[in-house]
Amino acid sequence: MFRNNYDNDSVTFSPQGRIFQVEYAAEAVKQGSVVVGIASKTHAVLVAIKRNAEELSSYQKKLFPIDEHVGIAIAGLTSDARVLSNFMKQQCLAHRLTYGRDMPVRSLIDLIGDKAQVNTQHLGKRPYGVGLLVAGVDERGGPHLFEFQPSGMTEEMVAFAIGARSQMARTYLEKNVEKFAECGREELIAHGLKALKESLVQDRELTVENTSVGVVGVTGEGAKRVVEPFKVFDGQDVAAWIEAVADDKEGGDDAEAEAGGDAPAPAGETMEVDE
């Protein structure tokens, strides 16, 4: 009776000037579990919460290496992310083969941005149902973090979070944004995990099973340039980092404070003392 007639394809505007298929795709990103990315002057990190479909199943991977110097975190349809990730791997490899260098991250992002936008403009195609955070290093300003949306929108960020309940993580990142630029590798990971914790539902917490951390870094310029290749850490490799932020929580945050909205502030302050 009151069916929406303007959401059958991604090429038709509604009378209000909206393209519903593109908005639904953005909605699919919000269904995915949360991923956080932060960039400093030397490193870019991605952290993610992995989900398992059921108790007996394994956890779905959230972080993927693309090339030596680039990695992605995904939120949304994993199968669509696979298409984009394969494309990005091919492009990075082709660039390496033709020019003998790491592909500049901005060039790579522009390619997937264009690829996704085309899907919103052709009858019979659909937008990708996945959002990405892309972390990488290049010779054009060191570490970078980019956000990618199914609409084809891409933007460079200092720090960002996408996925379910990611607003809580973004609030944490906004509160601490001034600190990120000067952060070292470990501090940046700690900030990422703390932002991630903000987005967890009440009775869930970070475990070695559900947490993924990805790091890429670069130091020096010219002849002294050294790249720490993008690497994903899972399982016991992330135990120490989880432990580090868990101690914080107990020290500076009580159970009753958790109910209140100002929980992140004391947590942020105690961290400064610890380090």
Partner: protein, 270 residues
Amino acid sequence: MDHRPQNWGRPRDDVYGAYDGSYLQSSGPKQATQSPIVTGTSVIALKFKDGVVMAADNLASYGSLARFTDVPRLRSFAETSVIGFGGDVSDMQYLNRHLTDLSIDEAYAAPSSTDTTTSPGAGTLNAANLHKYLQKLLYSRRNNFDPLWNQILVAGLDSSEAPFLASVDMRGTAFTSPSLATGFGAALAQPIMRRYAETDEQAAQLSREEAVKIIKECMKVLYYRDARSLDKYSLAVVTKAGVEISEDEQLEQQSWAFAERIKGYGTQTV
């Protein structure tokens, strides 16, 4: 009425006579360059302590005719590299336009275009990247049986800021060496340069002044013995500080005394 569509809209045969199809391209395989037409001769280059020196004369020959005497064959790329072209001049001009487009695209994307704190060319293609790209380009063209008829030397610095010098030819064959020469220079100049810098270690001992002197000496030998050469030439020096190209060098202190003693060529009857 003529019911054959192929005849509609054509001048009428009964008025203008039958159409002369010989004005159209005759059918047959597509023809790519079979040989170079206007050519440049040798390009020579030598590494030294802080960079690379490169030289090529300003002549574009039409066969054995010295047709154009003001054609510089060295160009810079992104203020960090020098490229020297031997072989076909029209293909050189095509590559020159192509590389200019590439350098503009790169300059817009690199931070050094907006950020004055970074060194010029930071984040853009260095000489090693450029050489790799040209090699892929020339190899792909030869695979389409439409080669770019050039031998190219690329000089600059690599990613570790060490002097870089490499060659690529019309087939995509690529190699590096402390000294390189294309065309006649490979026979006449290369042995002279190797006397001073046979290895990278020896090249790293050379000063800029020594390297320039050796290159100038080689250009003189080439002018003495290469009949497709000119005494006006371009000289480029590339270092960490950037690229300097001088396009109006003149060979000095020529001595043709040796020529009298040369026998056995041409129309002499001695």
